[in-house]
Symmetry: C2
Subunit: 203 residues, 2 copies
């Protein structure tokens, strides 16, 4: 079945009908993005939110020193965009680009609002999406007070699928630590696994 | 008019009828909380989200050294609680308590879901609340890479009403900086105002 059909049903209490889904789908625009191509550039208004069918994307902003700071990472079945700019209509302070070649479904704010009124399953999905997104960002805010080790551990537990899709410097930036610190954390973790493999009797 | 009535209308595209509002209100439980009284304690499941009619509250977690880390601050017309625990039903890692004597309206997750189905205005309010909450947490994540000065500046711009409701050590914790750093930022800001008052001709 269509990934968006599966996604809506996952978060809706009732199965969406074929007719309703066709209506939902007709509100989206299909687009391909080549690696490094922007969905959104700093200073633009985020006109579209993207449901990712294929590929990986990232949202980041440039700090005062011109360093890229990762804000969000996304893979298939995730939504990418800048919610503030999308909702309020203000220019975005973020960039969203394709980390891999992507296929996405784009929706405007107006179309999304119309569907939330006309399609109960889509509305439920939107509510759950808001909740899930809030939960995820809340976790990130909380993790700021964690050590680098604990931060990485939580990241791997929550998002194991990110580990092989993004390189270390992107993950380090997402976690708000330096690449060297992440390197140390990973070395320490590898050592720990080696010791665990040897077993307590052998030490 | 009732604060919750005004709140729903603020975020709904159509005015809620008196009848619908009475139905909404009947799903809430009124409660008074004395200063320092908990709405939620670490380890409990968050059964209720609270709409604050009066007073100020805070959400925090205890770090590994037993230090309180502010996660959210709330005043009148804000919602307090732990969304993850409320939605997923898992024990909370947060404490939510009254910073001032409070009056709140409590709602369960089931009642909220029922109202989202039965009352279009309440549903719209919920969607907007999810958006606003996401926007706010997104801003906080972004601000992590800011200097202490810029972090405080954004805080005052976005939440001027928090400045007189919470003491410096609570605001410092919310911003993820030490009390001494905040003190320095404030001194610097005061000096700047003094220089601005003197005017460029006098220097």
């Amino acid at each position: 079945m269509h990934p968006l059909y599966n996604y809506i049903n996952k978060y809706s209490s009732t199965l969406i009908s074929k007719e309703d889904f066709n209506n939902v789908k007709s509100h989206f625009i299909y687009k391909k993005l080549k690696k490094k191509q922007y969905l959104l550039q700093e200073g633009e208004v985020c006109k579209y939110f993207a449901f990712i069918l294929k590929g990986a994307m990232r949202q980041y902003h440039m700090d005062e020193k011109g360093v890229e700071r990762m804000v969000n990472l996304y893979v298939e079945n995730w939504w990418a965009g800048d919610r503030e700019s999308f909702i309020v209509g203000t220019p975005s302070i973020y960039n969203v680009d394709a980390w891999e070649d992507c296929e996405v479904l784009l929706i405007t704010s107006e179309a999304s609002q119309r569907l939330s009124r006309d399609c109960q399953a889509f509305n439920e999905m939107l509510l759950k999406l808001g909740d899930r997104s809030n939960i995820a960002t809340q976790r990130r805010i909380t993790s700021i007070s964690y050590s680098a080790e604990k931060r990485y551990k939580c990241f791997v537990e929550n998002y194991p699928f990110f580990v092989n899709r993004f390189p270390q410097h992107i993950i380090a930036s997402y976690l708000g630590i330096t690449k060297d610190t992440l390197s140390r954390v990973l070395k320490k973790a590898t050592k720990k696994v080696d010791i665990d493999k040897v077993g307590i009797k052998d030490i």
